[in-house]
């Protein structure tokens, strides 16, 4: 089992997609269960898309570095970028948007951080020397 994986991408939607597809293949090759791979891909997609959308101007996307540390029971993923800091220097403590009311009022966004919080065992953010460092930890099931 590989114990460390490093990947990086430009902060664009299409680069994030390519990184996620690459990552999934590597996690499957590292014998993670299909279910864990899904959990990790969904959470990382939301974290990466947040960086694409909020950390950089769309005409000047920076780089995102992803480091994964894999142990038998746990995967730690650290995302680093040098874009705008998270407001309040913390991940938003957001709950799911309300789904009540008529269909035309249903939310079309605002699910990202709630998905990340639900799918991770631990979430940590720090701003260090102009760099955002977001760490997501997942408990792994035996495959």
């Amino acid at each position: 089992m590989a114990d460390s994986i490093r990947l990086d991408c430009i902060a664009t939607e299409s680069d994030v997609r390519d990184l996620l597809i690459d990552l999934r293949a590597r996690l499957l090759a590292a014998t993670l269960s299909v279910e864990d791979c899904g959990t990790i891909e969904i959470a990382l997609a939301e974290a990466l898309n947040n960086i694409v959308e909020h950390a950089f101007p769309s005409d000047a996307p920076g780089r995102i570095a992803l480091r994964l540390h894999l142990s038998p029971a746990r995967l730690r993923c650290e995302l680093r970028d040098q874009g705008t800091a998270l407001p309040g220097l913390a991940p938003p403590d957001s709950s799911l948007p309300e789904l009540t009311g008529p269909p035309e009022t249903l939310p079309e966004g605002g699910f990202g951080w709630s998905l990340i919080r639900t799918l991770t065992e631990r979430l940590h953010y720090e701003r260090h020397d102009g760099e955002n460092r977001l760490t997501l930890e997942f408990n792994l099931r035996p495959s």
Partner: protein, 112 residues
């Protein structure tokens, strides 16, 4: 994004011919759905059996497509693969849509 539209007497099945409805594809999906829904079928089932991954942008685009049908018309879902079903379940959007477990059965019923 490629969609295949198959009208049956009582419902129209729109099959998404792509593996992902994600942030990179959400706008193309909405545009394609707007065109596919322009003919105004009353009951649409969106077949997601070829889609293996949906993120929150893709989920928002599917909700937007449901709003496009509007006014007494229906958009149901079918063929959710495991990760797609997980996103619907965790956001509770599975309580908003009618989700058909088996697209094949639906087609057989629709074609009589």
């Amino acid at each position: 994004m490629d969609l295949a539209t198959n009208p049956h007497p009582d419902l129209t099945i729109i099959t998404v011919k792509a593996g992902r409805i994600d942030a990179a594809a959400a706008i193309a999906f909405k545009d394609a759905m707007r065109a596919a829904l322009a003919d105004g079928p009353d009951h649409v089932v969106l077949d997601l059996s070829q889609v293996t991954f949906v993120d929150s942008s893709g989920l928002g685009a599917i909700v937007a497509a449901m709003k496009m049908t509007g006014d007494g018309r229906r958009l149901d879902l079918a063929g959710l693969t495991p990760d797609v079903a997980k996103v619907f379940r965790l956001t509770r959007m599975d309580t908003i849509f009618t989700i058909h477990p088996d697209i094949g059965q639906l087609v057989r019923r629709a074609t009589g």
